[in-house]
């Protein structure tokens, strides 16, 4: 079979075909454009300021390893002036984290970054192994996820760091958008699309610099750069719902690779249609002026265009065309919303009528969500009592009974466990 040459340098053999635009690139040009696009995302969203101390949520897996590697590269190449630190969470799952934490320790040496490991036991008084003892293998991912998100905040706070970056990629964001769409959870859908959560008033901000990076390209970047990462399947069964959303995304990608970024963009556009009083998100935006304007810009260039990334100049005519269309579409959407709210009942296309109908429903049903702090633990939360504290309350209530039962009779404990699972789920 004839070798295809790289579309950029036209000399080396193409090894990569980019999912979002089918561009065929050689290894060196792929690595350059991948890094240039992350740089573009960072600069167009004004994600960092010189002198910032940034904690990288590091699991030793592909996403966070690539994030650490790229941030180190870009920080040096473009003089971001960032102080980067690896922050790892030990969930307390025997046999699961041991190897991945070893990977993070190696990464700390490879990237010359300080490393801080925080355990669930010291943060919450519970390891995940103990949580599973109580609630069973089903549904424990909820606990793990809620605890982990706060663990990063708490770990960062412990280090006096106000900004945590995570390795969430475009596939993750698309998956979350679909899940929230399928659940009808528009407030969360809106929040999950933004690149940064929290603002200058919150203790710790979180952001996703790889938000527009395909998982496939992250894996290929790690492969071609020969990065040291670790893969493991959580010993406790994967969350079924997320699993099916993931399969859906991967199947869509096979049929039409651009679908993943398209879902991300659709999510961003839908987020804009969600009324402010429901999302609580506009509050952050108005407080953080620089960010909200960056958001506006981002929607046009999407972190994937080449307005800033000279390295990628001229390669992405298709993408740019698409982005222009996106921009036009998004301006149309704004018109539709304003029209819909003033002249209700006329000029409705499907989107507009849906959004209006939804607006009524949600604002009646949903308690106004504003980003505040948990009354119990003081960490960022949209509710009075944060999810972690609610879950912990349930766990702590169940603990004494359960420990006795588990010690005595295994069979009985499993039925009890199942019953407990129902109880805690209802409480959550």
């Amino acid at each position: 079979m004839a070798r295809t040459l790289c579309a950029t340098c036209k000399t080396a053999r193409a090894l990569i075909i980019r999912p979002k635009n089918h561009q065929k690139l050689c290894k060196a040009c792929f690595i350059a454009v991948f890094e240039a696009e992350i740089h573009h995302t960072i600069t167009t969203t004004s994600l960092f300021s010189p002198g910032d101390r940034i904690a990288i949520g590091a699991s030793g897996g592909k996403d966070s390893t690539v994030l650490a590697s790229v941030l180190k590269t870009l920080n040096e190449r473009y003089n971001y002036g960032l102080n980067l630190i690896l922050l790892s969470i030990d969930e307390g799952i025997k046999g699961y984290r041991d190897d991945s934490l070893e990977t993070v320790k190696r990464n700390a040496v490879q990237y010359d970054m300080p490393l801080k490991i925080v355990g669930y036991d010291e943060l919450y008084g519970w390891t995940m192994d103990q949580v599973v003892e109580v609630i069973g293998k089903k549904g424990n991912c909820t606990y793990c996820g809620v605890f982990r998100r706060q663990a990063l905040d708490r770990g960062a706070k412990m280090l006096g760091i106000k900004h945590v970056v995570t390795g969430h990629n475009a596939d993750d964001v698309a998956e979350t958008i679909l899940m929230n769409l399928l659940r009808g959870d528009l407030p969360r859908l809106a929040r999950s699309t933004s690149i940064v959560t929290g603002d200058s008033t919150s203790d710790v901000r979180r952001s996703k610099p790889l938000k527009y990076a395909y998982e496939k390209e992250i894996v290929l970047y790690a492969h071609h750069k020969k990065l040291d990462y670790f893969t493991t399947e959580c010993l406790y069964s994967p969350e079924a719902f997320r699993g099916s959303a993931r399969s859906l995304i991967k199947n869509l990608e096979r049929v039409r690779p651009s679908a993943i970024l398209d879902v991300v963009r659709s999510g961003e556009d839908m987020a804009k249609l969600v009324p402010e009083e429901v999302t609580g998100i506009s509050q952050c935006k108005s407080q953080k002026v620089s960010l909200s304007s960056a958001d506006g810009e981002e929607e046009g260039s999407g972190g994937c265009g080449n307005t800033n990334g000279r390295d990628s100049g001229g390669e992405m005519a298709d993408m740019e065309k698409k982005l222009q269309l996106d921009e036009e579409a998004s301006s149309r959407e704004v018109d539709v919303t304003s029209l819909a709210s003033t002249a209700d009942g006329q000029n409705h296309d499907r989107i507009a009528s849906k959004s209006v109908g939804r607006k009524r429903d949600t604002s009646r049903k949903l308690v106004k969500q504003t980003l505040g702090t948990c009354k119990r633990c003081g960490y960022m939360s949209s509710q009075d009592i944060c999810k972690a504290c609610t879950l912990l309350e349930g766990l702590n209530k169940n603990r004494p009974k359960m420990e006795i039962v588990i010690d005595v009779e295994d069979e009985e404990s499993s039925t009890l466990r199942r019953r407990m699972e129902g109880v805690t789920l209802a409480a959550g």
């Binding site: 079979m1 295809t4 030793g60």
Partner: protein
């Protein structure tokens, strides 16, 4: 590195030596071994040169001991989310399943589906 075939390096007119690698969590399905040196017949039952499609079926039927075949193959295709690289090139550039295996090819299967 495990030699999973009795005559790994034997290349004759009838067999092709190849290196198959599994990463990104897929090695778990293949006896926790990342590298498998195989010697495959140069022609399939119908006399056509063996291709990756043939190899995938062969791996499923003969090499994989794990019963969770669907983690590797779904509906007779490599499961979406698993990348296939032929000598470091995306197999989409090489004709995917129809790529005819060459002696000493390195076929890498990388899962993007597993977490970290």
């Amino acid at each position: 590195m495990t030699e999973t075939h009795p005559k790994p390096e034997m290349a004759s007119e009838n067999t092709i030596p190849i290196l198959v690698e599994f990463t990104g969590g897929l090695e778990m399905l293949f006896s926790d071994e990342r590298k498998h040196r195989l010697s495959v017949p140069s022609k399939d039952d119908e006399g056509n040169p063996v291709n990756i499609g043939w190899l995938v079926k062969h791996l499923c039927d003969k090499v994989m001991k794990d019963s969770r075949k669907e983690m590797f193959v779904l509906d007779d295709h490599v499961r979406p989310g698993i990348l296939v690289l032929v000598n470091d090139a995306d197999w989409e550039l090489e004709g995917e399943a129809s790529y005819a295996l060459q002696p000493n090819d390195n076929i890498l299967f990388v899962s993007t589906l597993h977490g970290g």
